[in-house]
């Protein structure tokens, strides 16, 4: 039996007269890789902020890892990981210091932090870099490290906001290996991207246009439904009529 770890029901966010997110309803299962796509300004970031417990919805319902987005935002934050292209690590701390810092924030014990950091450094092959400042790492390594830090406390769900923007094609794929591994361990992945080939790596995808979820299905079914050769065409078909941009 599949077990939903994200459930939303007519989740809505208004800013004055502007409806940024309008009655979105969907479920994401444990261990699923869920692609959350949309044009610039479609409302993805606002929706994600509600799901992460950072923004209280205007109406509708949602539970994240079993916790309510209105009342249990602190529990939500403890049970999720978050990484974006913009905010990830502290650049003037070393690799090891970043791991220890985030481990501490998420309440891991010193012993857990030690075990986790050894594991992580081996897995990423960062043995030579542990004492280097993060600022000196190439972007691709930063992103991989940043993902690993976001799942350090073994969250139920990890939210990734355009994690691979500007990264070279080889590193982008290594990044997806990390995503697959985490999903295999049962971590639910909620990811946004502008790379349509990455949309194909997701189990299911939703496409948001002007605050509304216009389509939600597996990549295969979306392509069939839209008689499209690839996800790029599906996206174009749905988003070209968008009235909003960021």
């Amino acid at each position: 039996m599949s077990e939903a770890v994200i459930t939303t029901d007519k989740l809505t966010k208004r800013f004055g007269d502007f409806v940024a997110v309008s009655e979105i309803s969907f479920e994401v299962d444990k261990g699923e890789i869920f692609g959350f796509l949309g044009a610039n300004g479609a409302g993805k970031t606002t929706a994600m902020r509600m799901l992460c417990g950072l923004s209280i919805p205007s109406s509708g319902k949602a539970t994240i890892a079993g916790f309510d987005v209105y009342k249990q935002t602190e529990q939500i934050k403890k049970n999720i990981g978050y990484m974006s292209q913009k905010f990830s690590l502290y650049e003037d701390l070393t690799v090891l210091e970043n791991i220890r810092f985030f481990g501490g924030i998420y309440g891991l014990t010193d012993k857990q932090i030690k075990t986790k950091s050894d594991q992580l450094i081996n897995q990423l092959g960062l043995q030579q870099e542990v004492k280097k400042l993060v600022v000196s790492l190439p972007l691709g390594w930063k992103q991989k490290l940043s993902f690993s830090v976001a799942v350090l406390h073994e969250p139920k769900i990890v939210f990734l906001d355009e994690p691979t923007g500007g990264v070279d094609p080889v590193t982008r794929r290594q990044f997806w290996d990390l995503i697959y591994d985490a999903a295999d361990r049962g971590v639910t992945i909620f990811v946004t991207t502008h790379y349509m080939d990455e949309a194909e790596y997701c189990n299911r995808i939703s496409i948001m246009v002007d605050g509304v979820i216009k389509a939600l299905d597996t990549p295969r079914k979306l392509k069939d439904n839209f008689h499209a050769a690839n996800m790029d065409e599906v996206f174009y078909e749905l988003a070209r009529g968008a009235k909003r941009s960021e």
Binding site: N40, G140, D168, P169, A239
Partner: protein
């Protein structure tokens, strides 16, 4: 060098080097040339050195080695003339946020000693979309609109060469397509365009491209020639479990190279005479189903991965 009052090459870069501090070599002996009227793409990830090259060519940064010319003029000696002849749209939003759309455009025209009217034909198609918002402050525009205004401002003095540094980064696929349509329009106006992007699929919109990584050029040619020079036959394969498929391919001794590529995995084999049914059988044996294996066309992204 000069032919009909125009340089033979719009841009020439020879052994260009740019070093920051003691160690950080951002641009490492880069050479390429751009023909007048073509769209030339610098394709590579963040940190490849694209912006440093743009800043040298727009005379905002001095090279530490090598040389470069723009419209036949030297980037070091003739920087003042170059500045009149180029348009530059930096990666980060470069307009005056507190000026209106109209004011920004007038400002850039005035700085270059011209008027909006004089070259209006160049920007008309793009500006038509901005016209309804001309009294709005630039800072209050949407991302797509800001981008269009920045392009208008970079064009208003009718530059010989237009430099666009990552104009489509972080932009959704629909807006990216629109932006490239605008560039194609500009090409018909005979403006040379040098554009950088981390999106490999945009390479095909260029006449010629340079693939760049860590300050070094991997290849310079037409997109068509780059994919043609791919040394092996490439195959696309899919099955019911992508993650497992990727793992299996990676550990399979017949495989030279394999990686995810959208719905498929792309694979090349060590033996050019590889028996495809043998591969399919192997994958079946290992527990995969719905296997589909066929030859596929090489893309720029495949070439980039191969050259890394």
């Amino acid at each position: 060098m000069e032919q009909n009052g125009r340089a033979e090459n719009a841009v020439v870069v020879r052994n260009l080097v740019k070093v920051y501090g003691k160690e950080k070599t951002a641009v490492d002996h880069v050479s390429f040339s751009v023909k007048p009227g073509e769209i030339f793409g610098l394709i590579g990830p963040d940190g490849a050195g694209k912006t440093s090259i743009f800043r040298v060519l727009t005379t905002l940064l001095l090279p530490d080695g090598g040389s470069a010319t723009v419209d036949g003029l030297d980037v070091v000696k003739d920087y003042k003339q170059i500045r009149n002849r180029v348009g530059y749209m930096p990666g980060k939003f470069s307009l005056y946020q507190d000026l209106s759309v109209e004011e920004n455009l007038n400002f850039f025209a005035t700085v270059f000693d011209t008027t909006v009217e004089a070259n209006y034909h160049l920007i008309k198609e793009i500006y038509d979309q901005l016209e309804p918002f001309k009294k709005r402050r630039a800072g209050k525009l949407s991302g797509g609109m800001k981008q269009k205004l920045a392009l208008c401002c970079a064009l208003i003095h009718k530059p010989v060469v237009l430099f666009l540094d990552e104009p489509t980064t972080g932009v959704d696929p629909v807006s990216r397509k629109e932006f490239w349509e605008m560039l194609k329009q500009l090409k018909t106006q005979n403006i040379t365009i040098v554009v950088s992007t981390p999106y490999m699929d945009e390479a095909n919109m260029c006449d010629e491209i340079a693939l760049i990584q860590s300050g070094r050029l991997l290849s310079v040619d037409t997109p068509g020639n780059i994919v043609k020079s791919y040394p092996e036959q490439l195959y696309a394969v899919k099955a019911d479990n992508m993650h497992k498929l990727l793992k299996l391919l990676r550990s399979y001794d017949k495989v030279m190279n394999s990686y995810a590529f959208g719905e498929f995995a792309h694979v090349s084999f060590k033996d050019p005479q590889v028996n495809i049914s043998e591969v399919t059988d192997y994958l079946k044996q290992e527990g995969l189903a719905d296997i589909e294996l066929r030859t596929t066309a090489v893309t720029i992204e495949d070439s980039f991965i191969k050259l890394l």
